[in-house]
Symmetry: C2
Subunit: 234 residues, 2 copies
DNA sequence: CGCCCTGTTGATACGATTCAAATATCGTGG
DNA sequence: CCACGATATTTGAATCGTATCAACAGGGCG
C-alpha cells in the first residue's frame, strides 16, 4: 500500500435544497421549511483515491453520503486479519453507526476519487426527532445496509473464486450501463472477496483470455454481461 | 433433511409488562401507560426444531423476539445456492425487514426448540411513532443486526475451515457459560460457514481427537475455550 | 426388523494459497 | 522528458486444504 499524504479537499457548503441527487439521499423527504432548520452547514468534500475517511475506533460524529466514487468499509479481527465488509457507492449513506455508537466500527477508505457530503450526527438526530419522513428514511437506510451485508455474504463470500469475481464485476457494472465498470487494485479485490491477491489477479487474467471481459483502459473493463451471468447461474 | 409435519404451538398471550427478559427486549423502554396501548395482543409460540417460521418471499407482517432457542436466517441465490446469513438467539429481534418491505427476504427456521414472541408490524409501527424510546430501541436493533452481519462476514466467512468452526464454537459458548455449547446438524454447520457437510464433520472430529472439545451428550459440547482462542489468535 | 437419515471416514481430484521471480506501472527527481 | 526506484501485477511451480464421490456405521422410526 502506498503511504503518501492524502488530503481531502473542501468543495463548499452543500446546497441540500438544490442537491443534484436529492431525490435519492437521506433528506429526500424534507420539506422546504425543514431546510431552514439546517443551521449547521452540511459540507461537501472530495477525497482522492486511497484516502482514509475515518478509521476503526475513531470517534463517530459524522454520517456520509456518497455523491460519486466508491468507498470501502474494512473490518479488523483481533488477529490482524482484515476483510472488506461493504462498498458504498452513489447515493449510499455510510457511517450510520455514528447514530448509535461512540466509535466507528470500520475503517472507511476511498477506492477512487470520491465526493462526499458530511452530515453531523447531531444535526441528523435533531431533525429526525421532529420529522417523520426522515425517520422513515433513516430506517430504510439501515435496511438497505443490512440487505447489502446479506448480499455480501451470499454473493461475495460463497462459491469459487471465479464465481465471486464475476458476481462483483456484474455488481459494479450495475452502477453504469451494465456492461462497463471501473475496478481497483487486485489487493482490494482479494480483500473484498476473501481471496489472495494472486488468485484475484489470475482469475481476472483468465476471464480476459477467455473473452468474457476486456480492458480498453487501465482498470476500465468491458463485460460480456449475458455470458458472465450464464457462468454463475448454471 | 427430515420432512416431518412441524407444528408450532401457541403458549399464551404474552404478558409484556412482566416479561422475564423485559430489560433486553424491544419494549424495554416502554412505560406503564404505553402498555395500555397494546390492544392487539402479542403472543408467544414455541416452534420445534426444524420448524420454518417464515419463508423467503412470504408476506412480512410480524417481527419476532427470541425468548429461547436458536433461529437461522437463510438466503437464496437465483442459482439455488443457499447460505445461512445470521443466527438469532435469546433477546434477538428478527424479521425487522417487515417494517420496510412487503416480503421477507430470508427463510427463518428454528434450529432447536425455540420460543418466540410475535409482534405484529402495525403494532410496532403505531407505537414507534408516539414513543421515542421505542424509536431509539428500533434503531439500536437495526444496528445490532448490521454488526452481526459484519461479524458474520469476517468471522464465519474468512479463514480456514478450522478457524471458522472454532470461532463459531466460541460464539455459541458466549450464550452459556463460555465453555459449554449446543450444536446442530453438520449440514447446517456447513451452510453457516460456507463449507461442505463433510469438511464440517471432519473438522469437528479432529478438534475432538485433539482434545479441544468433548461431547458429553449428543450435540452438547464442552470447549477448551482458552486453547481454542489461542488457535485463532495466532 | 429393516429402512432411512445423519454423521463419519477414506481416496482422489481440483482449486486456492504460498513462495518466488519476472514484468509492468507509477511517481519522482535529475 | 527520461531514468530510476518503488509498488503493483502477473506468472510459475509446489504445496496444502477443501470438495467430491463413495462407502459404511449408528440411531431413530415405522
Amino acid at each position: 500500500m502506498k503511504r503518501v499524504a492524502l488530503q481531502e479537499a473542501w468543495t463548499g457548503v452543500a446546497d441540500c435544497k438544490n442537491c443534484t441527487i436529492r431525490e435519492s439521499v437521506l433528506f429526500a423527504g424534507l420539506k422546504e421549511e425543514d431546510f431552514d432548520e439546517l443551521h449547521r452547514p452540511i459540507d461537501q468534500w472530495v477525497y482522492p483515491a486511497g484516502a482514509e475517511i475515518y478509521g476503526a475506533g475513531q470517534k463517530a460524529s459524522t454520517l456520509f453520503t456518497v455523491r460519486s466514487g466508491l468507498v470501502k468499509l474494512t473490518q479488523f479481527l483481533p488477529d490482524g486479519t482484515q476483510r472488506i465488509v461493504r462498498l458504498s457507492r452513489r447515493t449510499d449513506l455510510f457511517g450510520l453507526e455514528a447514530l448509535i455508537e461512540q466509535d466507528y466500527p470500520h475503517t472507511a477508505t476511498a477506492l477512487r476519487e470520491t465526493e462526499l457530503c458530511r452530515l453531523p450526527v447531531d444535526v441528523v438526530r435533531a431533525l429526525s426527532h421532529a420529522n417523520s419522513a426522515l425517520y422513515h428514511e433513516l430506517m430504510a437506510r439501515w435496511h438497505k445496509a443490512l440487505s447489502a451485508a446479506d448480499r455480501w455474504i451470499t454473493e461475495f463470500s460463497t462459491g469459487s473464486a471465479r464465481e465471486r469475481v464475476v458476481r462483483l464485476l456484474l455488481w459494479l457494472a450495475e452502477m453504469e450501463d451494465g456492461e462497463r465498470c471501473e475496478l481497483f487494485s487486485r489487493e482490494d479485490l482479494g480483500a473484498l472477496l476473501g481471496l489472495t491477491t494472486e488468485t484475484a489477479s489470475r482469475t481476472m487474467a483468465e476471464l480476459k483470455r477467455q473473452g468474457f471481459i476486456s480492458e480498453p483502459r487501465a482498470n476500465h473493463f468491458l463485460c460480456d454481461a449475458p455470458n458472465l451471468r450464464r457462468l454463475i447461474n448454471s
